[in-house]
Symmetry: C2
Subunit: 438 residues, 2 copies
Amino acid sequence: MPLRLDATDAGFAAAFEALLHAKREVSEDVQATVAGVIDDVRRRGDEALIDYTRRWDRLELTPGTLRVTEAEIDAAVERAPADQRAALDMAAERIEAFHRRQVPETTDYRDAQGVRLGARWTAVGSVGLYVPGGTAAYPSSVLMNALPARVAGVERIVMVVPTPDGTVNPLVLAAARRCGITEMYRVGGAQAVAALAYGTATIRPVDKIVGPGNAFVAAAKRHVYGTVGIDSIAGPSEILVVADRENDPVWIAADLLSQAEHDTSAQSILITDDAGFADRVAKACEDHLVSLPRAAIAGESWHTHGAIILVRDLLADAPALVDRLAPEHLELAVADPDALAARVRNAGAIFLGRHTPEAIGDYVAGPNHVLPTARSARFSSGLNVLDFMKRTTFVGCDAASLAAIGPAAVTLARAEGLDAHALSVSLRLSGRLPGGRA
Amino acid sequence: MPLRLDATDAGFAAAFEALLHAKREVSEDVQATVAGVIDDVRRRGDEALIDYTRRWDRLELTPGTLRVTEAEIDAAVERAPADQRAALDMAAERIEAFHRRQVPETTDYRDAQGVRLGARWTAVGSVGLYVPGGTAAYPSSVLMNALPARVAGVERIVMVVPTPDGTVNPLVLAAARRCGITEMYRVGGAQAVAALAYGTATIRPVDKIVGPGNAFVAAAKRHVYGTVGIDSIAGPSEILVVADRENDPVWIAADLLSQAEHDTSAQSILITDDAGFADRVAKACEDHLVSLPRAAIAGESWHTHGAIILVRDLLADAPALVDRLAPEHLELAVADPDALAARVRNAGAIFLGRHTPEAIGDYVAGPNHVLPTARSARFSSGLNVLDFMKRTTFVGCDAASLAAIGPAAVTLARAEGLDAHALSVSLRLSGRLPGGRA
């Protein structure tokens, strides 16, 4: 059964603290293996990719067949059911529309001292998108990772996807096609990350690597960070539902289980102000678990990591708990969700009101579903267009504006003992003209 | 002597590639030491901080004297020379003014399907600022790290600064005071980072840690990443100057040496289209090195890691080289710097024209001087207000808008085999009302 906590109990603070710091994932130590694979790909390139793919995906490749052909993509797209392709198109349009509003503007101005100042944003040149194979192959995840890059203006988006025994999810290729991805390689694991970071004869290196993956992929991304940029390393999924008694417990139970079904390490938490409602939700979860196809996973997650927290007053008591938990997903199933949301600081994404189940945001709402996990919403944001751009600031002085601000720079540089810094400014303040003419 | 390359030489591509990938830093393996220190601070808290401070800073502290008092800050500020404090004030005002333009806006709208969508930004709750002690104690660095946090609205900014033998740079405390920092502890090293990340009896933990430090500090930041946010780990400083023959070689030489004087691992590169000008700059560097106080450091950096690259045409040939180098600082000392800047994609900060030495940006221009190093300007940006904020997206549906977009979510969830996801949407589409009333 999920943990039951009552905020009015004497031991609540300690029990809540324990919940906050409970480890849900067994961290596999795959560093050494991954370092070896990456080294091997750096040394042997395509040959290493081909060897690992034979060993782990039971697939025989050549440098010529590493890349998925246009014809193969066409064929896969054709195989994807029409209703699914239509749903994918609708999702893609809504995700693009939402992310287009994130494109930042250049600033360029002259201040009171006559100094020209500003910042401009440019897209990252090339991005590698890791897409897991097998059961974790989610077409929605392709859209969520690739579309912000596309909206940002990334010129080259490269997808890698393992195809164990040669099988691929056609809807994953349909999603990639919808995102305009034409460069695609059938490799996965740490070896694919290494190829994206360092390049091989067939795969040119990229500037940044994003996308979900298993422990090997995550470790490989950490390993190549610095050589290329990476997105954040996602932990198991989380939902926190704040719900009053006016909700249908059957709906709320489905919401809790929709995160639980992702992974046995996922975490679903309910905060409510009504003990009877809490009981009804717990009961409804058990009812759903009888029929849900992924009941084994969802049940283990809910019973091991799930929690129901009873508070006296939602508006007064929930926000502080929410901020400590800093959930990836926060569902506010109350009559006035805005009042609650206004008091919350830390959450990856907020779902407002009784008719906004979190799952709507996983697919079609528009905002990104790649969100900060493991309490990192305290200091980080979901994937967005800015993750695929970078800001370059600029300054321009002429002789007059340098004369206005330069002396202070000389004073500070000397105070810091950096005399060449001071010199580079003071020379230009001394009235000499370019070309050495006095 | 610095490396000389000519882009028209047959071997140029290979030589440039070697320059790109040359390692400048000896990476010290301090991981094990740092992991031990962090563990110890987690176990013993203040006591461990006091022990390490006795050992490494030769300073005897108690839990009561870990914190720098207001009276001590007052006294230090008084000791700082008035002209330096005035320059610091001017710098702070300009940095604040520039960063205020970075504060992002909330978006909140309803789309054609009636779905409410948006994103809001909130400040990180608390930030720890690491400030190195000793010779690397730069007051300008306090401003550059603390002011964006302050502009972002961070409520609690905590500074840690080691004070070897009890000494502290008064101007560093004056800078902290100018930034409104009142919570300050005289501890440094990996132990200070551990205290900020995990907390001790005296120091409450923070959400994010920023600021420069030595190899131990950098390793500690990497170690605690995930528990808290961190800024990027800075490598040695770099400047790339693109200059034509119309410049005063004495000015350009000072600019090159102003980066070189930071660190023997720093790198200064000149790209020019005139071999005679290249010779004159090289000569001027040697002349400056005779008299500069930090000539030993600057000379070693310039002679070991410096480079002069000759190209045929600056506008045509320099941008591609700039983008590969992706320099932290890019100085465009040409008649029309905008034309060149428009062709460049990768640079941390750009300094436009002959009267804009890079050092002006280190102190008083306004943009941040914490910038991406080691070619990471390909995928990352300088420190800015957004680094101290996070974006929370939100979605709000009512029955009608959920009916418009929900069916596509159900289709995609089922296609991905996530039936609880589908259920959480479909239940709400089926006409049942909250409270279980049909």
